[in-house]
């Protein structure tokens, strides 16, 4: 999984965007996001959409050490709490029309 760093002002974005919202720059360099972060909020979802074949799944919003905030799935056994340290991994989050989509899956740091 990547962050997209503005070549002009250095702000890190996720997901990719066309224009930097800090300096109007239009060029970005890809940077792997696999570090640690802090869980800002989370939920355990019981009414998952079609295409997710699980009874329940945990999701969270994480502030990465690099500064950018991202959404992702959580794969954490035991207690989940706001402020806990997590680590970003990349994994298959959904299969759509036979195509595997990868994304952030956060584990306990």
């Amino acid at each position: 999984m990547y962050g997209y760093r503005c070549k002009k002002c250095g702000k890190l974005h996720h997901p990719a965007r066309l224009v930097c919202d800090k300096c109007e720059g239009r060029e970005f360099t890809e940077e792997i996001l696999d570090g640690e972060g802090t869980l800002l909020t989370y939920t355990r979802v019981h009414n998952l959409p079609a295409g997710i074949d699980k009874p329940v799944l945990d999701f969270g919003i994480v502030q990465m050490r690099e500064g950018v905030c991202v959404s992702g799935q959580l794969d954490i056994d035991g207690e989940i709490y706001t402020g806990m340290k997590v680590r970003a991994t990349e994994g298959v989050v959904r299969v759509m029309n036979g195509v595997e989509h990868t994304g952030f899956i956060f584990v306990k740091a």
């Binding site: 996720h14 019981h46 959404s71 959904r94």
Partner: protein, 393 residues
Amino acid sequence: MREVGIVGVGHTKFGKSDLPFLDLLGAAALEALDDAGIKTGEGHCVDQLFVSSMGASIQNRISGSASALVDSLNLRPAMAECVENGPASGGSAVKLGYMAIASGMCDCVLVVGGEKMGKGKEATDFVATMLHPEAEYPYGLTLTSFAAMFTRLIMDKYGVTSEDLARIAVKNHANACHNPVAQLQKPVSLEAITTGPDMEKINPPVAEPLRRYDVCPMSDGAAAVVLCAMDIADKFKRRPVRIAGIGQATDTHCVANRAVPTDLLAVRLASQKAYKMAGLTADDMDCAELHDAFQILELVESEEAGFFPRGQGHIGIRNGETEIGGRIPINTSGGLKAKGHPLGATGISQIIEVVKQLRGEAAGRQVEGAKAGLCVNFGGFGNNVVATVLTKD
């Protein structure tokens, strides 16, 4: 710029419907035309039709609904277009109708919104298609997931409790009992959904900390309004309700990218813009229809729209200030929670409730002497919001 008013309203009963999508829209449209006293066919006065729906092409496999409806209603050769702006499609379509008349291009515009949502996991997935196509939707994230994570932040920051959210649902169910077009016309007690012995059964967790009564139902339904230029309003059967102000604002597409994750900035900006255009303030509003797809949204929108200071809305709910008879009655219709939420109809349905309040036709739920009201129609998870201020002429 010409002034614009509403001279006709039509509203199907929300809930499961066996009618095909276009017939559902047609039922609301005909009721609105009849209310305004507009005859269809040769010499009719409708210059333009707007149809709002988020999912007709996804859920019903129908595109070009406006072309179909304009012919079926015998309103040819009026101009016709579809409007898609997620759950804010209805508010957007009324805004476009306003612009068409204010510009001088049209005298009379029919705006019809509707949805056949389907049910279960497929419907949940369809609604989620408005999320970011890479950073949100593929994860299995849904609008309910984001509402749940937002609720946790609000609870931690402001001391809002699950009981506060339940109080909003209790109020909205009570209001819906007096609204003949509401989907869930049944009262619910605070005890039953918070501490009662069957609580886990009737109010199970959906996306923690949210439970069933914190979330609106899936609905089919349609709603329609007839807009006209105020300078020709005396041609119609009904006295017009004035569209005094419209505001719209957008925010980051991804929820995770919000500068202040507990704010609904687009609600604040859209409301402020609508008040400014109307030359009014939040204090001038006698009632409001706020987009409570999740009960937490009614709470935070009531703050962002200026009815309460930030972090104080739940105190107002505990004090009954948002009930009918309170300082600022909110969702007298029953709101999305109990009236139902067919996405493309919702923004128009909200406007119809305020029209009924200003006409004095909201039997059983009337806000006495109502002269002005606000509607907030919320798209995405707050990334596209339309606010409308209506006044009695």
